[in-house]
Symmetry: C5
Subunit: 96 residues, 5 copies
């Protein structure tokens, strides 16, 4: 899974029928402290995450192992909102 | 999913039999504002997208979760045409 | 899918039993005009492609969605030989 | 599989229901001697690995081939803790 | 598939039960002439390959399409030992 920050949203009228009602958020990967450092991608949100949240995303077929994403043409899902991150015994991120 | 812009088309006479009638478009990934920044790839179009459109593509087995692509030797599909993108509360792209 | 050029062949005596009789070609990815620009990889050829051909390859489980590759330990297949490529309304490649 | 070092832990209250009770660790890839050299990612731990351990992780659908991860929205699992690594006949890493 | 050279071995006592008896080798990707040029990774060996051999590896679910790897948490397998490589009509590698 990747650690990533939610930075925005996408809106589409023309889309695959299985995506009706799905929330597709824009994310950017972060390092292990929550600092953004990679290129943007889009994942389905099933946890009501919001812009600014630090989350984990599962990719590939892993992105379809939820009731909301199974059998849909998607390849990434937000599967956890991060409360805190600890590295080498130190808290390096806490949700504010 | 990746945000990408449709830049062109491919034409093939010799191809897998399951690809007969499929439209294979050339895309380039973009950043979160729709600006092209990555290497080209090819995806099946099931939404009648056109050159210049900003779209979302699903990759891997996710690319085969549509009626037109299931059981075909493909690994990417256009599953949404983007109307607009919003980042940090600002509209950063709108389909013209 | 990737746009790639066939640059060579591999020969193996010791291999998985499901690969007997399979042609494994060496390819390099190209840009959207057919110019080689990436690292080499190997794909199964089911279309009788030859060295010099510009082709499309499907990756991951997509590489096993053909009669010749299903249930085999492979992750890439040539699924189309490119006749021509068009970018922004201009023909940028044509098979010679 | 990747060789990686466990560097930390993640804690999430809001997560997919199939992740309840799962330990999600932060890792960084290493070279063939155990020296960290890549970007962090997160994997499910089913082997009671700890911070500092050098491990192997399986990715994609391979990450769900364990009793603890099957049918869950995850894409990486720790499937071995490394005792030692040998390169070109020399021991280059041993668990201390 | 990737062209890669076997550079070493891994030894693990604590591992997933489906990996008992499996040989996990360290490899590095090479260019199309067998010259090492990429980062190390680990694959299951089902062909009795040895350090120094040039091989092909299949990744993702392709790595589990063998009797020894099916249903195991692995994502890469050595599926061919390379005898020779030919690029543009020239032999560029031969097993010594």
């Amino acid at each position: 899974m990747r650690i990533a920050r939610v930075i925005g949203t996408t809106v589409s009228t023309i889309k695959d029928e299985n995506l009706t009602g799905r929330k597709l958020l824009i994310l950017r990967p972060t390092d292990e402290t929550g600092k953004v450092n990679g290129k943007p991608y889009v994942a389905v949100d099933t946890l009501d995450a919001g812009v600014g949240d630090l989350v984990l995303t599962a990719h590939g077929s892993g992105g379809r192992q939820t009731n909301q994403t199974k059998n849909s043409p998607v390849d990434a899902v937000i599967m956890a909102v991060i409360d805190w991150l600890e590295v080498a015994g130190e808290e390096v991120y806490r949700q504010s």
